[in-house]
């Protein structure tokens, strides 16, 4: 028998407290202070999530010599023309204004040039040095200051509470809210809302080496998919080339930021060769992440890797003082696990970093599902087949703001809908089952297996047979995950939370592998050893997954075509 749940009613329910969730809350509130806004975070509001982990910075065309058109061109070329161009345009055209807002309304400290204007640094794959930053730990500052702004407004914050599932309206016409689980107490709340925003972050944690925070397991994708949403580009998983190698510690896979390569750091194989010479002699280490990661992976696979199975990043020739001053966060992180970034090479591995795919949205963050908005990594289409460094936090903030504006506009038009009570009960039963089993599968062991399978068979370079094998293994793990056991107390039960995490992780991994198997070409972050060429004739399409269906939709080139040298 299921325990009960209480109910909470609000206008705007925001699931996730990264850049997207917080920007949405602040914008919606300021545009309509009468709105009842609730922010739910899986960890502590302001701490959980990945905007905080942004190191490098935020791309925005601020300099008079730069332009949004150039930023757009870089973004779409970087995305191998798979981007939804309307979304990419929204990103680049809003980014400068969002930086000004963060500076003048949120009070973010961005690094300055000697003349007092905002400093911008070099990142890979860009025609201009346009990355706004605060040292090499930009995200901490952005999210801390956004969090501070919440205290100036009447917005309800709910810590350490996860959404289990989106709940449909009784008539099935859209989304009526979400079922929440308060992890500290184990109590459930049915949150009913006129509009719900998914902003939980993506699914790179499905890989053995990954960058995101531990609790971020693609909950948003999994919930959206179960609710019948249309997910796009799920095969597009970005691997960052320089995740630190720190043995079996969970630190392994954490990124050493791209500004190092932007500033001129070398990537070396075990023989001390700058291997990018072989793969992209023109751009070398400043090639886009997809190219650099894959090159490092090939070096490792062909036996030119380091003893720990990585490659080296070497910044020593830049001068110890320069490195220490410019990258203090990276230097400290390295020192703690025995590396001296200022003087010696550091062992790094490609690491799963960012999921370009996600829920299909329009440029106001609306989905096809009435009552559901999606912003940030949970959405797909902005970045196409590969995201540029510095466009991630830009996406979270730009589209979070847009979602907040949309919510302020539509909340007054939307009714509060009756919920589908059977959906609530189904979600409750599924969540509670592991607590009733005295013995069963260990969810942590299943997670390890998912991560190993995805790394080996659905990782940086994939093939049809590997992906088929990955899918079969994931099906088997999905069955096993139904038999997980967790200690029976509901209060602050981390093993139980892991059972719920691993289910979502498997759902997202299966979608990723399925889309990857379908795309029989190599494009951006998606590399097939059995289809090693990009094929614009066949594959300028986005792969969609919805209700167990897979289908293709041609990319609409509203602004730029692959053969055009300049924006249309």
């Amino acid at each position: 028998m299921s325990p009960g749940y209480d109910e909470l009613t609000c206008d705007f329910l925001i699931i996730g407290s990264g850049g997207a969730g917080l920007m949405a809350a602040l914008h919606a509130y300021d545009l309509n202070p009468r709105l009842n806004i609730v922010v739910v975070a899986k960890g502590l509001v302001g701490k959980s999530g990945c905007t905080r982990l942004v190191q490098g910075g935020f791309n925005a065309a601020l300099d008079p010599k730069d332009s949004v058109e150039k930023h757009f061109l870089d973004t779409v070329k970087g995305g191998a023309f798979l981007n939804n161009q309307d979304l990419a345009w929204a990103l680049v055209s809003d980014a400068p204004e969002i930086i000004r807002k963060l500076e003048t309304k949120v009070g973010v400290f961005f690094d300055r040039r000697p003349d007092g204007t905002i400093h911008q640094k070099a990142f890979a794959g860009q025609s201009f040095d346009r990355t706004v930053h605060r040292g090499d730990l930009t995200g901490i500052e952005i999210v801390s200051r956004l969090h501070d702004q919440l205290f100036a407004r009447k917005i309800t914050l709910i810590d350490e509470t996860r959404a289990l599932d989106l709940i449909p309206t009784k008539d099935g016409s859209g989304i009526a809210g979400a079922l929440l689980l308060h992890q500290r107490t184990g109590a459930f709340t049915l949150a009913r809302a006129r509009t719900t925003l998914l902003a939980t972050g993506g699914g790179p944690r499905m890989y053995k080496f990954s960058a995101p925070s531990i609790e971020k397991v693609g909950d948003g994708y999994a919930m959206a998919y179960r609710a019948g949403c249309d997910l796009v580009d799920m095969e597009m998983m970005q691997f960052h080339p320089t995740g630190i190698l720190a043995g079996a510690s969970r630190l392994s896979g954490m990124v050493l930021e791209e500004g190092l390569r932007g500033a001129g750091a070398y990537l070396l194989n075990a023989h001390g060769e700058r291997f990018m010479q072989r793969y992209d002699p023109e751009r070398m280490e400043r090639a886009t992440r997809d190219v650099v990661s894959r090159s490092a992976y090939i070096e490792i696979m062909e036996g030119r890797g380091t003893p720990a199975g990585g490659v080296y990043i070497d910044a020593s020739h830049l001068g110890a003082d320069f490195v220490a001053k410019t990258f203090p966060g990276m230097v400290r992180r390295c020192a703690e696990v025995g590396y001296d970034l200022t003087r010696r090479p550091v062992e790094v591995t490609p690491t799963a970093h960012f999921h370009m795919g996600g829920v299909a949205i329009d440029d106001r963050c609306r989905t096809a599902m009435p009552g559901l908005l999606v912003a940030g990594e949970d959405s797909g289409g902005v970045h196409g087949a590969n995201r540029l460094g510095g466009n991630g936090v830009a996406e979270s903030c730009v589209f979070g703001a847009r979602a907040g504006v949309t919510a302020a506009q539509i909340c007054s038009e939307l009714d509060m809908h009756a919920v589908d009570a059977s959906a609530v009960n189904t979600a409750l039963d599924a969540a509670l089952a592991p607590l009733t089993r005295p013995e069963g599968e260990n969810p942590f062991a299943i997670r390890d297996r998912v991560q190993a399978v995805m790394w080996e068979d659905a990782g940086l370079v994939r093939s049809g047979p590997q992906l088929a094998r990955a899918r079969a293994t994931l099906d088997e793990l999905s069955d096993r995950a139904l038999h997980c056991a967790a200690p029976n107390e509901r209060r602050w039960n981390l093993a139980w939370q892991q059972v719920l995490d691993v289910r979502n992780l498997i759902t997202v991994a299966s979608l990723t592998a399925r889309a990857a198997e379908h795309r029989t070409e190599t494009r951006g972050s998606h590399a097939r050893s059995d289809f090693a060429k990009r094929d614009d004739g066949r594959w300028l399409v986005n792969i969609h997954l919805q209700n167990d269906r897979i289908f293709e939709v041609p990319v609409v080139m509203t602004r730029l075509k692959p053969d055009a040298a300049v924006p249309a």
Binding site: D30, K47, S48, K105, P114, G116, Q149, G247, A445
Partner: protein, 239 residues
Amino acid sequence: MSVHKTFRIRRFDPSNDAHPYWATYTIEAKPKFSVLDGLFAILENQDGTLGFRYSCRAGMCGSCAMRIDGREGLACRIRLENLGATISVEPLRSLPIVKDLTTDMTPFFDKYRKIDPFFVGDSPSFAEQTPEPLRVDPTQPLRQSANRAIDCISCGACYSACPTVASNPAYLGPAALNRAFALAADERDREADRFALISGPEGAYSCRSIGNCVSVCPAGVAPLAAIQLLRRGKSASAT
């Protein structure tokens, strides 16, 4: 050769236990393991009921602050190889316990909120027009000291280590006062009255200059220095 470490963990489930107690676990300490890795090894293979808080595992979110061998720190940044054969792990002090090593941060953030921790610009609402950013000289001394103060990750280590917080429940504590200083030193901030918020008996003048906040801060912030500058700023503005 494998290295083993023994964890003595202060455990307490307020709903079930009359008193906190010590539980002991031994794990294989793999190279470069942090205290957090050790806690996961216990949770995943030995005792699924252990409670602790985590998120980024890289020293950026401040979720895993706890007392390790009697001293506050981030579990993700302290490596087992730098500790002895037996490691004691306890929750932060001066905060209620949710379970085991997980504390309720509500009192910490309630006090943080009291200093109006939010920046107030010329045009604070997102519904209003956005002004052009000011030019800010990066070498200006106030900007530089504020720049150091903003590195706080609100982990609560200083709050737990502060004897004044422990003895005076109303005291705002090092992190909140440090934030007040960062805003007071920000030439762009327009809130005039922040000094009034920190000059009462719960504010900057209750600090006894012991400096634990500085020595435990994992982010290299010096709240004590910020508090001293706040006091000086207050007297300067009074004259």
